[in-house]
């Protein structure tokens, strides 16, 4: 066979393949049109099951972006050796300032430290009784924004490593609590997502199983006439895919409707806090993810149902 002939043969086979798929797809759409009630019900269940985790994840994302500026709001106080010379203090401050994880370094001399202490405590009388300033010089390190907890730990360890630094005090307990809470919430949402994903697979699987029961005679006759397993399976897989994608579209609509409903009060709250915070939508990529997730779960559910129930339908 010449190359051109081979190419033609290939094109013909591809054409036949595409035509078969096209006709299965048309038949599937016809099926949806013939029984819109149950189909819509299945799609609605999938839509809600997908919208819930998508909504939760969206809220988490929004909380995360809202708290982002506060998260690097922690600071580290470096208590230096008491008798470190001013020049050395300045030199250390400059050195630290060069680190990429560090945004700014503030230096408090022993005198400034004492002044601060007097201003913010009730001990100024007591301090006056001391004949010597008991406070060490302090460097206050502000980290750059968006440091992860592990990067923060590394930075703190590095600061502590300097011989001039006696002690590091970190003001970040609440940041850690926030992180911990967010991690917990995220884990919880993923758990719900996994459960709802399984629910979607089961719902689609059950719908397809009923579909197979209802079309038993059609399947038997198709096999009698020489329909391959793939040919018989195809419309059901398309159905599953269709249910999943319709569910994904519905979920997108639900999530966006939820945002539309929540937006006015959120904006009002934000304005009361002088914040420009706005609820972010799931966007194009979010919608694409929902559709893909729906399609994949639908395909999985129908694949399971087809694998379990179609082999049992044999002509006799």
């Amino acid at each position: 066979m010449s190359v051109a002939q081979q190419r033609n043969a290939l094109r013909r086979r591809l054409g036949a393949w595409a035509a078969q798929h096209g006709r299965s797809l048309t038949a599937t759409l016809g099926q949806f049109r013939r029984s819109p009630g149950p189909s819509a019900m299945t799609a609605a269940v999938i839509g809600i099951a997908l919208a819930l985790p998508a909504g939760f994840l969206g809220i988490l994302d929004n909380i995360e972006s809202m708290t982002q500026p506060w998260r690097s709001g922690w600071q580290a106080s470096l208590f230096l050796e008491r008798d470190l010379a001013t020049a050395s203090q300045k030199e250390l401050a400059a050195r630290l300032d060069k680190r990429p994880e560090v945004a700014t370094v503030e230096r408090l001399s022993r005198e400034q430290a004492l002044a601060e202490f007097r201003r913010y405590s009730d001990f100024d009388r007591a301090v006056e009784l001391l004949d010597e300033n008991p406070l060490p010089p302090v460097l206050i390190v502000h980290p750059s924004t968006g440091l992860s907890p592990s990067a923060t730990d590394e930075l703190v360890a590095a600061l502590d490593d300097h011989s001039e630094v006696e002690r590091v005090r970190l003001d970040r307990e609440w940041v850690e609590r926030l992180h911990a809470m967010m991690a917990l919430a995220e884990r919880g949402v993923w758990l719900i997502t996994a459960l709802l994903g399984i629910a979607v697979i089961l719902v689609v699987g059950n719908t397809i199983r009923l579909d197979i029961e209802n079309r038993r005679e059609e399947i038997v006759i198709t096999k009698l006439l020489g329909g391959t397993d793939a040919f018989v399976r195809r419309p059901f897989l398309y159905s599953g895919l269709g249910y999943g994608i319709s569910g994904g579209i519905l979920a997108t609509i639900l999530v966006e409707a939820g945002r539309w409903i929540l937006s006015p009060p959120v904006n009002r709250l934000a304005s009361l806090y002088d914040s420009s915070f706005r609820l972010d939508g799931i966007g194009l990529s979010g919608a694409a993810t929902l559709l893909a997730a729906g399609g994949l779960l639908g395909l999985l559910g129908s694949g399971l149902a087809v694998g379990r129930h179609l082999a049992a339908v044999e002509p006799a």
């Binding site: 036949a16 006709r23 005679e217 096999k223 009698l224 020489g226 329909g227």
Partner: protein, 223 residues
């Protein structure tokens, strides 16, 4: 074309087909006759592998069916047109769609479908019923739709199980003549029927079953 070699088929205790051997040549037309329960349907079901024999071997077009891999069964069935006593048409599809189903299954290009379906419907005299629903047709018309579906892919083998089951004599004769025409075109045709008078009148080869065994095979005498 079809060879049975000491074939038996047992359903639990009941032996529906017992030690049957025969050969049917290409283009031959054969009647399988016998009383109800003699094993005619059971015998026919072994040919497209709707059932597997309990013993012996069946060969179709020189292929031993025992050695046919499972994934090749659809290919075997596409080469065999079958009609059933209870028609087995899809009630929720038009006559046209029913007859088009084998073409769809075989992946025949769409533009050829209409022409071939109409040619098949024309042959059985139902061209004007293509958009009717099968339930609205008479028994004889449904049987003819079944025949159109069986021949639309022009298979080399045609099997018919009681095609004249509950039809009046003149319609029965008409349908048998239709099968004779296909046979004359080279299609190997096997028809199970208990309508002995009609079979004798047509005078083709006849294999008579009795309790699952071959009682008479007219080919044995003519040879």
């Amino acid at each position: 074309m079809i060879t049975f070699d000491r074939v038996s088929k047992r359903y639990r205790a009941k032996e529906a087909v017992a030690n049957i051997s025969f050969h049917i040549g290409r283009g031959e037309m054969v009647f399988i006759t016998g009383h109800s329960g003699a094993g005619k349907s059971s015998l026919l079901r072994l040919i497209p592998l709707l059932e597997r024999p309990s013993g012996g071997s069946v060969a179709v077009s020189g292929v031993d069916l025992a050695e046919l891999p499972r994934r090749r069964i659809p290919h075997l069935r596409r080469g065999i047109g079958i009609t059933f006593q209870d028609h087995r048409l899809l009630g929720d599809r038009s006559v046209f769609d029913n007859v088009a189903l084998p073409l769809l299954v075989a992946g025949i290009p769409y533009r050829e479908t209409g022409r071939r379906v109409r040619a098949a419907l024309d042959k059985v005299g139902l061209l004007n019923k293509e958009s009717a629903e099968p339930i609205t047709l008479s028994g004889g018309e449904q049987q003819r739709v079944g025949i159109a579906r069986a021949v639309v892919t022009r298979p080399p083998i045609l099997l018919a199980d009681e095609p004249t089951g509950n039809l009046d004599p003149s319609l029965s004769t008409e349908i048998m003549h239709l099968f004779a025409q296909f046979s004359a075109l080279g299609v190997t045709t096997v028809i199970a029927t208990h309508d002995l008078p009609l079979v004798e009148q047509l005078g083709h080869r006849r294999i008579t079953l009795q309790a699952g065994r071959v009682a008479v095979d007219t080919a044995r005498y003519s040879r």
